[in-house]
Symmetry: C2
Subunit: 422 residues, 2 copies
């Protein structure tokens, strides 16, 4: 089915020729062409999404969340991307007045989308996929009205599932993030000065991150998920329970953002867990290391070594087809065997996962929980973070980012894993 004259396939900017022209046009503005998505990736995503739309029995999919717009067009704009189950996509753009794809119609309000459908002689979808986990209730109701009240399906869940499997180009972007992540981590110990608080220490790490190319902000899925560039947890602050769905908590600086560093002075015998973002490209890596002044108590060292052992066990056993629940359960079995269950993933409040997908957002599927029904697939990227909170010492354990290959898993974030003395 075609989308009328305005939506002819030859207008599709993803053709190699059009992409070349588009590249030239944007080259003047952008210094790094790596910033743009591979045209073959965009074509492939479009085909995968279209196939998923048909599988869901829907007639089209409308997207407007930043990460999804970027995923489908390589650009973020204020507006909508519409992909019918057959034929080519169209963008409806409020701002800026630039065309993310050739088939772009500038609008002031979503009601104008209906006019363009009428102009193109296009039937309104009977079932439409909308980002029902991301769009606000009011915006979604308005769009359903614009599209004459189709049945609504969940495009959020669908896109999160599609984004799970990374292409070689996406993996290359992750590798760049991972490399820069390690470059920053190698500078962390030198940021420490005796007498510093966790916040002063974190400010110096943040500066190194930014000078090494961190884009600062990063995307987290979920409405009440606030975090700033990552988390530095020192001593007993690691025990503070958080409202958010991250692995560990921390009291934070204000009651409006109760997570992470809280001004604790860094003293000898405290574990300082650094879990700062790998946001050096659009694709995020996740990595945690533990720093300490002097030697930590035996229990903390033992728990830290167990975290490394859990990781090594996962690396030996995980491959395409491995159940995500098994990864959690094997980890938990090792923790129980060592008698460290009371410290695993927190004390007062224990997170019930040991790893999660990574990509354009820091918390993508799959999630390694006891009851996950997902299995590893080649091209998935994930972070494993078996962590322990030792009362009066702090948090220990490591986190690394991994790629699922055809035969196993490959570690992307390569840096010293033992407790690092400052």
């Amino acid at each position: 089915m075609s989308f009328g004259l305005k939506f002819r396939l030859k207008d599709n900017c993803y053709s190699p020729k059009n992409f070349y022209l588009w590249r030239l046009k944007f080259k003047k503005k952008r210094r790094n062409m790596n910033d743009f998505v591979m045209p073959s990736d965009l074509l492939q995503r479009q085909a995968r999404l279209q196939s998923a739309i048909r599988q869901a029995g829907a007639d089209g999919c409308l997207l407007s969340a930043d990460v999804n717009l970027y995923y489908m067009t390589g650009r973020v704009f204020n507006g909508y991307y519409y992909l019918p189950s057959e034929g080519s996509p169209c963008c409806f753009v409020r701002r800026p007045k630039e065309k993310p794809i050739e088939n772009t119609i500038f609008i002031r309000k979503p009601e104008e989308i209906a006019d363009s459908f009428a102009d193109a002689g296009r039937a309104f979808p009977e079932k439409m996929l909308l980002e029902t986990d991301e769009l606000s209730y009011n915006e979604c109701m308005r769009l359903l009205s614009v599209f004459r009240h189709p049945e609504a399906g969940n495009a959020t869940a669908l896109l999160r599932r599609l984004r799970e499997i990374k292409t070689p180009w996406e993996i290359e972007r992750l590798r760049i993030s991972a490399r820069q992540h390690a470059v920053t981590y190698a500078e962390i110990a030198s940021c420490f000065r005796p007498g510093m608080t966790d916040l002063q220490f974190q400010a110096e790490i943040e500066r190194r991150m930014r000078l090494n190319g961190s884009v600062g902000v990063f995307s987290v899925f979920g409405s009440n998920m606030n975090i700033f560039m990552g988390s530095v947890l020192t001593g007993s602050n690691a025990e503070a329970a958080s409202p958010f769905d991250f692995a560990l908590g921390g009291g934070g600086q204000t009651p409006l953002c109760p997570i992470g560093a809280n001004g604790t002075p860094i003293r000898e015998g405290m574990a300082v867990m650094v879990d700062m973002a790998g946001n050096y490209t659009e694709y995020l890596t996740d990595m945690t290391r533990v720093f300490a002044v002097g030697r930590l108590p035996e229990l903390a060292c033992r728990a830290h070594q167990l975290s490394i052992d859990i990781q090594d066990d996962m690396m030996q056993n995980a491959r395409p087809g491995t159940a995500c629940a098994d990864i959690y359960n094997r980890a938990l079995a090792m923790v129980k065997a060592a008698g460290l269950e009371a410290y695993f993933m927190g004390t007062k409040q224990q997170a019930k996962f040991v790893g999660h997908g990574i990509g354009l957002q820091i918390n993508e599927p799959p999630v390694f929980t006891p009851r996950s029904d997902e299995v590893l697939l080649p091209g998935m990227t994930f972070a494993l973070e078996p962590k322990f909170v030792i009362p009066n010492v702090g948090a220990v354990g490591i986190e690394n980012s991994f790629l699922v290959t055809e035969t196993g898993v490959e570690k992307l974030t390569l840096f010293e894993e033992k407790i690092i003395t400052m």
Copy 2:
């Protein structure tokens, strides 16, 4: 109307005695009691919200957005705050296992709220206010189902309106932010080294912010509004149009976050506009200053002076009762008289507002647009930002934060307003 046994008024933690006990309990964990909301403020907010619920003809209001939970309880948690049109509030908390108010029920899923209503012999609301601009479609549908499909009213718009008028305690928090904001701005010129890019310069400013107490992250209303600690715009990058609803744009570092600094080397004759957040408490101030190496061209200096003149004109004329549209229109008239319309609030893409409310979020109502129907009221706080983009030079103009007093407006962000030479 009472809320059943579990919801007796004497259990309300906002009573001075309960607050004192609560304070003692939290004192162990928190170092700064200023972080907690004044109990009299919480009582007053509850009364105002309850009056607004009745005015809307609703039976109750359910809140779960971070800023609204904080506004009503002084805490952020994963869960819900319910206020009936009469009687006392109740919190339904998933995480952490701490009671934000005395009347707290711990839940695992929202469906358990229905059970607690049944247990308390409480009638389900026929009309309920929900954060329909903030809750996702799916979450809102689920809550409507839990509450047996009441008519839904917009709690987002209502809370934004209530939050517009600040109490003396809130104003004190804003003053602290404003003071620290100015402390950081006084250090900015010394952050500059010849040969720096905008991003390197910004990294040094961010570090000073953090060392001066910035909480890093800050809250912006709207789903696709990404920004990182603020914006540094240098030279022609100020002309880049953005998808976001901020005053100016900038190309940004990646196409996933197209706003702000983009790696432009800072050279003589370029304007460097610094608009970094005043997030030193939960309450945000907004302030912009222009820095330059050497002298800027005459046109840029003239536009910058006009920005100061527009501010001074506003300060002489604005008072309770002043129409927000008038503030925009007076500014625009001055711009037209000076023949600088082509540069006002951007070039290719011009923002159609000249100021906005500030508070727990950086973009609160009122907004100073040509067609705003709001008027200034005592206790409102806002930022005025008449800015100009001069091609090949950059952005000029100032922004300051103001409080509407009983008789006029008071400037909160006090720092040198002329172009600052580095």
